[in-house]
């Protein structure tokens, strides 16, 4: 199993890819800065599974935490945050 590149507390930035097919990198978190909340394990990336019709290698994935204001701007709710699971290949 691939060794996770990131650990809890690391700052990460999501890629700004716009793949033509299925992805689990929601548009609303693309190109945003967040923090690794948890290291969840490893699993095939669904994007690749859908594209190729077979499951690929396990890739580490993480719970990534974003402040609402980092997603929606300064007028967003100050006391709210969001966690979404993202595969390592979505992160830089």
């Amino acid at each position: 199993m691939a060794t996770p590149r990131f650990t809890v507390g690391d700052t990460v930035r999501t890629r700004v890819d716009n793949p033509p097919g299925h992805t689990r990198l929601p548009r609303y978190v693309r190109g945003r800065t967040g923090v690794i909340e948890s290291v969840r394990g490893a699993a095939p990336v669904p994007d690749e599974t859908v594209k190729n019709g077979v499951k690929g290698d396990d890739v580490p994935f993480y719970g990534v935490l974003f402040a609402m204001q980092d997603l929606w701007g300064n007028d967003a709710e100050a006391d709210a945050e969001l966690v979404v699971e993202l595969w390592e290949s979505y992160l830089e």
Partner: protein, 218 residues
Amino acid sequence: MSSHSYAAAPQSHNHDKDATRVALTARTAALEAALVAGGVLQSEQVDELVETYAEKLGPRHGAAMVARAWVDPTFRQRLEEDATSIIRDLGYDLEGSQHRDLPFATLRAVFNTPEVHNVIVCTLCSCYPLFVLGPQPRWYKSPEYRSRMVIEPTQVLKEFGTSVPAGKTIRVWDSNAETRYLVIPERPKGTEAMNEDQLRALVTRDSMIGVTVLPDVV
């Protein structure tokens, strides 16, 4: 056709038009009738599947886990560390049953505290911990809930009648990938003398989604 229906959604979130529901119900009934007539399906199979979702996988499993977590620190710790193993031990992953292809994924319990209120949503579709909460309420699948909960959770919670005090963090969990989340509500005040059975009866589905909090018992 089974008579099962979802619990009513809060009024402010009942965006679906009754006409749409009637049309979909009619279409579903027609589809079922055609499949039964063609010998593809038996009505009993449909009833059994609905019963499995509504009763066997219903929110009472989640409520049991919440009540246990309130009274049993060892269980609470295990729930924090590896909720999936609890599900497996209880046999809810349905391995070997005829319903084994029901959606199953990793379960993670997220605990409400005086500092943090948790709430779940799926922006991708309607991912939900079916095996501990039963079928999704219709509003959980609505585009309004799915889009607005990740943008303005405080406001959406208000529309569910839930006021989160200023300064308390609202943490939204978008369950779009491998993990399903179960919110463990805070134990209401005034329940100190209650036993586990009594506590279990207090726990509602919506409190385990995180759109409501449990009222104190006075």
